[in-house]
Symmetry: C2
Subunit: 365 residues, 2 copies
Amino acid sequence: MFKTRLRRLITLQSAQALDCVALMPGPNLRYLTGLAMHPSERPTLALFPLHGSPALILPLLEAQGLPENLPFEVRLFPYTDEEGPQGAFEAAAAALELAGKRIGVEFLQMRVLELRRLEQVAPGCHILAFEAFLHELRARKDDSELDQMRRAIRITEDALSATIAQVHPGQTEEEIATELRVAMLRAGAEEVAFIIAVAGPRTASPHVSPSSRPLESGDVLIVDCGAVYGGYVADITRTFAVGAIPAELERVYAVVRAANEAGRAAVRPGVAAQEVDRAARRVIAEAGYGEYFVHRTGHGLGLEVHEPPYIVEGNEEILRPGMTFTVEPGVYIPALGGVRIEDDVVVTSTGAETLTTYPRELTRL
Amino acid sequence: MFKTRLRRLITLQSAQALDCVALMPGPNLRYLTGLAMHPSERPTLALFPLHGSPALILPLLEAQGLPENLPFEVRLFPYTDEEGPQGAFEAAAAALELAGKRIGVEFLQMRVLELRRLEQVAPGCHILAFEAFLHELRARKDDSELDQMRRAIRITEDALSATIAQVHPGQTEEEIATELRVAMLRAGAEEVAFIIAVAGPRTASPHVSPSSRPLESGDVLIVDCGAVYGGYVADITRTFAVGAIPAELERVYAVVRAANEAGRAAVRPGVAAQEVDRAARRVIAEAGYGEYFVHRTGHGLGLEVHEPPYIVEGNEEILRPGMTFTVEPGVYIPALGGVRIEDDVVVTSTGAETLTTYPRELTRL
């Protein structure tokens, strides 16, 4: 599997006339090698030359933690804390003859730290954005990836069900978030990607953190969360009613649910990403709430919580089988509150499959 | 408090003749503003000009989630998903007249994404490394910061005690890590910074992740973990014995414990950071295990898990009251196993205080 992915990388790289691709610890490196590393103050950089085996510059103590069997031959350039990384960068650049070469990098992952070192040890090199091609490499999920995503989603949904069953007025947003986090870990999450649990008027802002505000009867409660399994992320949002909620939010709920359904119904191969956004947005606009739907309809999902394809006006990228993304329309009315209903979908050969299964009816707690 | 910190920033900035400092979501921005934001694919950048109020380029939906009362006036440059960030970057650069200016940035935080946008909207600007000065700003922790660190440490130690009390042969490293994570969250952790739980021969590598290997009698178990509270991180390692461990590891334990004590005893104002490393390393070298102590003795600790001062040979930085860092010597013998004992210390006006209180005697489980 990794050898196939590496061959596909080399093909893309060759088409862009890149002599080398430099990858940071992160989703692309994990996709290509299985290595789940994290950036730190000790720089780590993987170099994939067009010819010859890849090279890995890394701290010695990370080198000792590498799995015994990497999927293909890798030349290691480790450095100790006393030495620092300079010598390892120089040795790798010399071995791969990087001076003056065209090097593709990840603009969203590489820091100025690594960029400057690379420019220094490879004088005259040309640094080019390669992210879009790496995303292309990862765009269509294979069956093994979809298995991991389904597992991440099942863990997330099981944990959400168990947590919601215990939610009660007086509990704070932070307490709900902690219970959900614990439930995800117990259900087998590799890690918890994120949890948003907000209630009452605070739901009028789509991206706020859980607070110490206690849940009250009459609140809406928005829970947006995702567990990670095998590196793959789930992302689901449901909006709940704590007792009787304002009549307008009941209406908004029905509108957002219809928008979610319209968005998902628009997903099929050959359609542009922006069409899914339009389908969901139209329902909300026609109900008179267009100005309150302040974010895109969705984003790609996989090794990253947010990755292409972005489901947004202006994105003409064509959907293809195996692409996975969220459909998450929302309406947020200042001082009153908000509603968001989010599902994860995969494009199939004929249409779409919704991977998330959590009920979409308004649940009263 | 934030106004004082901002004034100190301006002083440092002025001394470096920087017209502006550009900060990413992260520890420095949190220190200066209290804002706990995270980098995403939607760029966020805070600009601190030498004169006039700071500016914040950010996605509209993050702007909506900002606290009502920021500590000082901030000019907001929000952008929607449909617009993208280009216009907001241009408007901010125009408002702050950044073209041709000297701009300080964080090499460890800023990505090529933000760097390239900044270079584009501020033609002719000079991008300079400002990280060392920001670290200087944060180097000496004040009482409110030490309070948060003490709280993070107490949460971590309470969770570690509760977890260790339940550890038993047959439990996997991953299960131990999950129990510890749950215990930290229940004890009030804002988040869990990291958990390493490894046992048996795997302890011979200092930086490996928990695996599905079940704990066996005769194993050493290394647990290295830290909770976050108020943004501040704890970092503690203890090594436990599961039943009777090999005689050599018993000897190694005594050596590492003596090295930990020697390292902590060397901490006082006016001493160079490398002297603490030397004090710990000397004990291990004299016992004949020098080649197996493969990492630095410690690292600064605060809003980041790893920050200056680094306790490593070659670092002549002078320790000053209020500096906080780890002392964590370790010995790792291939195929046999390892021992690490890590404490967190703060430099006082006369010496040092060890903030971690967990017992250092070899505990047998």
